[in-house]
């Protein structure tokens, strides 16, 4: 197990370098950050040259990347367009987005798996058909449509929840945005779980469990579920990235000032430090989440652990 963890950690290094370098190059192509700093005014050429030199803008790109990354690992993400340290922005924006993602993830995992398991066990019956139809509907409606519709009815018309998320993004305000964000993934999880459960109920090892005289409950919980959830856990893991990307859209609908808002501001104001800083942290969070899921996967499936 220890060797497996180390191997997975080492695999993360090239992925981290690759993605951050890519975003670095892309942002660099956005335009001249020095010109953006001065807005409408034309900067004094000498001052501009000085700033360029201070920001290492004249060095080769790869060297700039190196300097930037060494600073990042010292905790210095540079300054945003308004001279606010990017670390300050990170500290206020990330907790909000992470909280939204976690709420969505929990809804997706708990509700999706529960629906899938019961549908899989009642294949072809009313509940199963209902789940299949509902999930199909959810998948085929774009998230922003569900978002605005739910916001209008539950938030504005019936005033059951706050239509937008309050200061500090408390959990109860995040429930509806979380549900909207989770929607499509939840539908996929339910369908995947259903298929996996249905497949496993026909598996030979399950027939053995019944032949051993185990009570039905035990056959299902100890034997069937654990095997059925292996592909679901993998999907949930890869879906974390999806959720984080979706969170940026959901934030806009519900006016949440999270990562999406900050990256948008960074792009509008042509601030490479903001954009690259936020994306770098996004990559780290994403890699760590994936690692966690891989470890869980290995715990669930011994064939991976000892491979």
């Amino acid at each position: 197990m220890g060797r497996y963890v180390i191997r997975r950690l080492l695999q993360m290094v090239p992925v981290f370098i690759g993605t951050t370098l890519l975003i670095f190059v892309m942002v660099w192509g956005l335009g001249d950050p020095v010109a953006a700093m001065f807005g409408d005014r034309t900067p004094d050429p000498a001052t501009a040259a000085q700033i360029r030199h201070d920001l290492h803008l004249n060095d080769p790109l790869i060297q700039q990347y190196w300097i930037y990354m060494s600073n990042v690992f010292k905790g210095d993400f540079g300054n945003a367009w308004n001279q606010q340290p990017v670390t300050d922005l990170l500290k206020t924006a990330y907790p909000v987005t992470l909280r939204l993602t976690i709420v969505a993830f929990l809804i997706e995992a708990i509700v999706g798996v529960a629906l899938g398991v019961f549908a899989g066990l009642r294949r072809g019956r009313f509940f199963d058909t209902g789940v299949l139809a509902m999930t199909l509907i959810v998948v085929s409606i774009p998230t922003f449509v569900t978002g605005y519709v739910l916001q209008y009815f539950f938030g504005v018309k019936w005033s059951i929840v706050h239509p937008s998320v309050g200061e500090g993004a408390p959990f109860k305000d995040l429930l509806m945005p979380g549900l909207v964000l989770a929607g499509v993934s939840l539908a996929y999880v339910a369908r995947l779980t259903r298929t996996s459960v249905a497949e496993n109920t026909r598996a030979d090892y399950l027939r053995t469990a019944v032949a051993k005289g185990l009570p039905r409950r035990r056959v299902i919980t100890n034997h069937m579920l654990r095997n059925s959830l292996i592909p679901v856990v993998t999907f949930l893991g890869t879906d974390i990235g999806n959720l984080m990307a979706g969170a940026l859209v959901t934030e806009r609908i519900f006016n949440i000032h999270g990562v999406g808002y900050q990256i948008y501001q960074g792009i509008v104001h042509n601030s490479p430090a903001t954009v690259v800083g936020f994306v770098t942290v996004l990559v780290i969070v994403f890699l760590l989440a994936n690692l966690l899921v891989d470890l869980l996967y290995a715990v669930l499936d011994p064939r991976i652990r000892y491979a």
Binding site: Y205, K212, G213, R226, R303
Partner: protein, 342 residues
Amino acid sequence: MTVIDDISDVPTPDAKLAPLLEVRDLHVEFHTRDGVAKAVNGVNYSVNAGETLAVLGESGSGKSVSAQAVMGILDMPPARIPKGEILFQGRDMLKMSGEERRKIRGRKIAMIFQDALSSLNPVLSVGYQLGEMYRVHQGLSRKDAKAKAIELMDRVRIPAARERVGDYPHQFSGGMRQRIMIAMALALEPDLIIADEPTTALDVTVQAQVMELLAELQAEYNMGLILITHDLGVVADVADKIAVMYAGRIVEDAPVHDIYSKPAHPYTKGLLQSIPRLDQKGQELYAIKGLPPNLTRIPSGCAFNPRCPMAQDICRTDVPQLHPVGTARGSACHFWKETLGE
């Protein structure tokens, strides 16, 4: 008043005389999209304690389905048992409640499946899967169950049982995995073991070892054994009697030596002729012509008639009943005398 209390424990005279397991006129059908597949059409067989019954027949003849019906592990639906009795120690299991049947499974009747790799749970250690028998049926603690699991693994001669008890099925060789399946079946010392092609998935050399182990343990515990196979070669050494199945029926039923020396059914004869023999090396192997019937459209009369070299008109119209041949055998062929006589 102890006398009255004791009455329930005394087996009824019927149970004492009755075989350990007796299957009577068992029918199983599957309701599928293409119609009703009649997989088992009136099977009769019986097994006594310490006795081995070999069930033979081509693929699809209903060997596994009838065994699963005895075990009570058929998926219903699609399966249905429209007719028949399965008497275990004199009581019809088809009339028992689900809970009663569950308590027989594993404790009194155990089953060994063909493919041990897929039949063991891939994500649970073998120690857990063996120990589970004791934890569920006898309420043992995790620790005691593990000790019992190690004991069992020793029993079926798995080397270094103590070190390997935490290993997973994929870490064992095919032969060792099948030993684990045998151990699991043996755990609660059942009265009857049903082994459904226990060696088919194994190497030839390992096959013999596993068969030997199974026969030895059966003798030691005086268990009844139903051995399902389509390999006549395996049967000769271990079986006491043989039931040959075709299209869901027993077509011949006899003590083992009778069948080998003088088959009384053309189908059995064909099966025997298709065994490779050392003294006929180089000769082309005999094969029964044609294919087993589609179970949704079983031929009228004798189900074997389209493939039978001896078929006459009567075979296409009249279903042959199991005619007694001598004392302890039967043949479901209109021309069993002619078949024997040749």
